[in-house]
Amino acid sequence: MRKVEWHEEIDSTMRRAGEMASKGCESGTIVGAEVQTAGQGRHGRTWESQQGGLYFTMILRPKVEMRDLPVVTLALGLGVADALQMHAGVSVDLRWPNDVLVGEKKLAGILTVWQEGAILAGIGVNVGQAVFPEELREVATSLALETQKEHDKQFLLRAIAASVESQVRILESSGVNAVLRLFANASSYVSGKRVTVELPAGVVIGTTAGLTPEGFLVVRREDGTEMTVTAGGVRPANNH
């Protein structure tokens, strides 16, 4: 039986998951909440966690080499995308490394932290939001908006958890290449996409040109030179 700890309100499921991981909780354990008052995004940003969304952190202890651990983030995106396609009836895209999109709008986001010897996979899915705050309207969507239906969050939670675990098992048993192939099939961002990439050193514009054997994104700049993106925000170039 999977252990799920559910809160009406919590500051951050990531913080609570860190506590649980440090006490040695089992792989697959979940902590979730109806509302997060201090949801965490990338680099200290906040993750908008309004009523209507599904917010949880899953603690994973994958049996992979340390250097292959980043590929778990691709497997997480694949797992969430598969579950939403299969159980919520939406057609989704994956933006490297693991944003789940409908068109160019974000349906689900994943933040992953390696801490206390475990992966804390923070997953936020926009489920029931009928309207988003002004600043997110152009970039976010929800299952309710896309399907005009209500969706049972606890059912989706279990579907996503099972799907994520099966993708992680593919990584464990078949290796990095298997996950990269699945990702390349599921994502329109792997090749031939004009993108901007935000790096600490500045913004780069180019066209995506596949993944390296480690799963990093190759971007070909307009002058023909190639760069490998190991981390950074990738966006469609026409948004800028």
């Binding site: 250097r67 980043p70 490394p97 933040l111 390696w114 801490q115 500045g202 054997p213 950074g232």
Partner: protein, 169 residues
């Protein structure tokens, strides 16, 4: 130009990721060049080749020298950070377990997890290496004191690259 000013220039080069800097003040001219471990864009070659081999450094800030300028040869004064200490057998290296981007703080503008001179003990978070949106918290494995940081905030790091040097207790 005083030694203090030169020292400041060296720090500027080290902290900004500029590969080469030439400055002339009056009759003095200083040229500072970083020679190893320098990469200022997020570029990697797979198979973990040294990052420097693909260095796509920004254009150097170049101030043309005046004809009669006196050159103070500075390369020796600006070693790649930590080169000398890497060979010190009394220091322990903290290495990156993955390829990614080095962050010294949990968020932009936040205080660094550790500073040079800080005491550390096992479990203390030293930095974050981000790789494909996996935030990898690098923890101290030994007790000691941070004596050197070898990577700048926001820089790419290779597998096995040394991040900090620690003097064990």
């Amino acid at each position: 130009m005083t030694i203090e000013e030169i020292r400041e220039l060296i720090q500027t080069v080290c902290s900004t990721g500029v590969a080469e800097l030439e400055v002339q003040r009056g009759e003095n001219r200083v040229w500072i060049k970083r020679t190893a471990g320098v990469v200022t864009q997020e570029i990697h070659v797979p198979q973990h080749a040294p990052a420097a081999s693909v260095a796509a450094a920004p254009a150097p800030m170049h101030i043309p020298p005046a004809p009669a300028a006196v050159t103070i040869a500075a390369p020796q004064a600006a070693p790649a950070p930590g080169d000398a200490d890497l060979t010190d057998p009394t220091l322990e290296a903290v290495k990156s377990p993955i390829v990614g981007t080095f962050y010294e703080a949990p968020a932009p503008g936040a205080d660094a997890f550790v500073h040079v001179g800080d005491p550390i003990k096992p479990g203390k978070v030293l930095c974050i290496i981000e790789s494909m949106k996996l935030m990898n918290e690098i923890e101290a494995e030994i007790s000691g004191t941070i004596v050197k940081r070898l990577v700048d905030n926001g820089q790419p790091v290779e597998y096995g690259e040394t991040l900090y040097l620690v003097k064990p207790n």
